[in-house]
Symmetry: C3
Subunit: 416 residues, 3 copies
Amino acid sequence: MLNAAENKYITQVGPGTPMGNLFRRYWLPAMLASELPEPDCAPVKLRLLGEDLVAFRTTSGRIGVIDAYCPHRNANLYWGRNEDEGLRCVYHGWKFDTSGACVDMPNEPASSRYAEKVKQAAYQATERGGVIWVYMGPAELAPELPGLEWTVVPESHRMATKRIQACNYLQNLEGEIDSSHVSFLHRNFDRTSREGPAMDLDQHPVFFVKETDYGMAISARREDGTEKFYWRVTPFMLPSYTMIPGSIEGGMVFTSAIPMDDETMIGVTVSWRADRPLNDEEIAHVKAGMGPHVQTDAKFNPLRNKGNDYAIDRELQKASSFTGIKGVREQDMAVQEDQRGRVSDRTREHLGTTDLGVIAARRRLIKQARDLEKGIEPPQARNAAAYRVRSAAVTAVRAQPWEEAVKDVMVAQAVS
Amino acid sequence: MLNAAENKYITQVGPGTPMGNLFRRYWLPAMLASELPEPDCAPVKLRLLGEDLVAFRTTSGRIGVIDAYCPHRNANLYWGRNEDEGLRCVYHGWKFDTSGACVDMPNEPASSRYAEKVKQAAYQATERGGVIWVYMGPAELAPELPGLEWTVVPESHRMATKRIQACNYLQNLEGEIDSSHVSFLHRNFDRTSREGPAMDLDQHPVFFVKETDYGMAISARREDGTEKFYWRVTPFMLPSYTMIPGSIEGGMVFTSAIPMDDETMIGVTVSWRADRPLNDEEIAHVKAGMGPHVQTDAKFNPLRNKGNDYAIDRELQKASSFTGIKGVREQDMAVQEDQRGRVSDRTREHLGTTDLGVIAARRRLIKQARDLEKGIEPPQARNAAAYRVRSAAVTAVRAQPWEEAVKDVMVAQAVS
Amino acid sequence: MLNAAENKYITQVGPGTPMGNLFRRYWLPAMLASELPEPDCAPVKLRLLGEDLVAFRTTSGRIGVIDAYCPHRNANLYWGRNEDEGLRCVYHGWKFDTSGACVDMPNEPASSRYAEKVKQAAYQATERGGVIWVYMGPAELAPELPGLEWTVVPESHRMATKRIQACNYLQNLEGEIDSSHVSFLHRNFDRTSREGPAMDLDQHPVFFVKETDYGMAISARREDGTEKFYWRVTPFMLPSYTMIPGSIEGGMVFTSAIPMDDETMIGVTVSWRADRPLNDEEIAHVKAGMGPHVQTDAKFNPLRNKGNDYAIDRELQKASSFTGIKGVREQDMAVQEDQRGRVSDRTREHLGTTDLGVIAARRRLIKQARDLEKGIEPPQARNAAAYRVRSAAVTAVRAQPWEEAVKDVMVAQAVS
């Protein structure tokens, strides 16, 4: 559990908050590249860390992410005309480039130099791996993009999806790094189903945590019914990314929990294989919203959601599914979107042995934010190479230390 | 009228409030038994006195009503698996019985005794009269169920319905004990209609109030156009129950206003006859949502509600109905759900002679809550026999005191 | 820009606020006469300056606008029976006339004089020009109705429409008096279209402001490509009315921004010709919600609104429309309903030379409210004749002062 002050500290992410400031030190995967499909396409509303933004792709293909409201008289630039390397407000024609500079002010006399004095808040944004990344911190501290494997494989090898999830980012992050829940929440008693873990998975794994350059490796040891241990290692990459074994055979999954505000988050999820293109079946799997992906409407709101009880089927729950809810992601959302509300009240928790990773991750986030308050920048934010990591799921003889057993498989295979 | 402090005192019912504490001394009729139709059926969300709860019926048929959120990491137990005498959280498998004890904690090592230390808030609940009753007060003070007549008649003799009403409980309660409004709100100028009072009902009854063991008897005297008086006596049973003559011939109606929170309430309404089963016509009458009953959706939200103006028909209002709204209950809800909002502002009232019962009931509720603050328990809460009462509607010679005139008919005919 | 205190001062309009009090010195065009189509018709909910009211038309045709909630026990009089020169509450039958007097109290004894002591808040209301006007200030200060031209032309010469707009009144008012935005927001590159300004309209007009009896004349001078200037003069009539050249040839348009509360307003818009009846084409134009009018549902909520992105068509925006939004009014609403929210944050503005009129109007409103706080009544409120004004759009030789150039055309042609 956390006390009330800690819970507030770790969950509040708006402008000026310590945790919000920490997030502003990292590149945030916030949009799919397909949301801005072509030069001068329609601008898109984007909300990040409590700020209302508008994203656009310019004539030459640059990505702009700027404050949504025109500095003149607060008209929303979402209505704007995206034309000739800038976004033009429809109210009086002021135009901004991706740096936030006002490059045209047609309602002022030709001789006016007023435009030079007007500057719109603008954030660095770039596209990699089919995803648009946004950096909202001090420009002079902008790091390289993290060297994640999926960002450097060919486009054919990966697929990314996005959802909006109706809870604080931490509830999702905790679920992603907590592999102990897999034995329950995702359990499927129907052995012919492809979804869910093996039925005989050891239900009380023993957890170990190791601090790393990217954040921490969270390792769960399970009895395997043999002379060996079954180890599953989830990298928790700061600020809020994880990697898990993929629902695609031989593939891997990247997840992220990006705060829109205290009560809402964006989840960009990527499935990929390092070694070959995804095949038709795998592509269909992602498009169908299976595994860690999810079916959404055009605005990325999940079709099965709290409003419709995630289409829970109580007969199915009795017959073959632990939850009666179809879809691994929907199962996660059902528990995460209401843990005593959209911001969980962690003063009322009773944590157990399998929560070791969750506890460690919280401590790490709080420490990093406190360090930043003291002026200590988060080192991993500028260590792009540290993110060249994979998750692991291996069996090893009991005597072998887990760090050694997973060392090789946790290295990214594809490097730019 | 009440002053602002009194109005707040009497309407606020959340945890820790004096009025909430008073309600916690009584058994509250909160659900229909049919909401939990069989052992191990799906759990149901329940909100009472500002707390989010989940109700379930165990394998052996016991009713559980416990805090909705798992003490482990706040997952909502509504998603839970109801199996083998307990409700199991789908997140990590913790399981709770009806006492709130954690009876299984499968993600902890077999040797762990952690489960013994975890206790979920749980409330006593039981089924009687086709209704599920919940007691949310101190366990050691739990009284017997009130000896209401309808709870002891055979199932064939009664029918209960439930609705969620979008206002503070007191607005509904005041309407139930105020028989003077019947001459107006429910008036029907169409003499062939079965709904509404007689057209020639005296419009300015004189009120009398008598304190009783169950609360108070509120008596309205009307001129009858004869040598006699027409008396109508409504028992106001603490904390918020009433009884009125039934829309079913020879029957009686029980009503209740159970706070979900300050702005929402549950109304369980029961029609019954003490002496014989309800016949087909009477059953159809209740099922059609006639009289004090109402048509709702599957979640007990009335079909005609504020959002659709209760389907008011202004032509009907001109022609034959005082309100133009069909249904006695809908007429009540139309006025009760917006008396300057969902919590009425009683500082702006102008009470008259026919509000005597309303005034007395408020005073009684406030006094009882203040007594409880001083440590004086409400005596009627543990006087089950006091609730063996009926309402009365009699004519009597003018000289006869009303208490004497109604004495016999106000005694419950069926006693367990 | 305004500082935070000024912005609050000018936008807050609820009971007791200085700006609310200023609005209460003027007759407010709040409803269409057709909302109360006949004597004893159904009452209508009306919200003005933060108060919930109910409007009704009596048997003899008088308009009543009174507090929506019955003084007895706060039942909403909207459910009331409109009969025999008054509105009767359906709860207990209390009846009120247009003065707020309680003229019947049938639940009290015949001898009671309680009704004489009960007084419901009531506001003066009257019909003129197809519109219902409400005066919410001190009765003894009630002025004449403003002598607006369209209120005195025959019914056949005018058409009024109404909309509810989801923002503070000032955002709409600022748009109406800011003719500089016309060159942008309403621009249409399709020269065959009737909507939008001429394509070659000078985009940086020079503004001049002149204080007048009704408020101020806001004059915009544009280069005309000739030896002359093109002048467009918009009268800003206190508290929140304007007049613009009509989308109907030879006609004129009246607009108004009447606060319902801080975040919502009513806009009554009138198109008229002083000299002849509107023809079929012009009537169809208004009924279709063209120009400054708009298509709404039966409760005056615009069909194209923020919830559906005003049906923006991004292809149309690329091809021929500056916004891609159809309808001049919808274009205005798109920018006005979200200028950093429903109450714009004017501390973040960067005003330019074309905002001179906006700045002057704000100053005038604030000054007038401050004067009223000191006891100085707004003089124009009681100068009905001052409102006999028209807008102007004229060309004039450069040397001619604009006041002189527009003097004659700004005089109302029709006077009662």
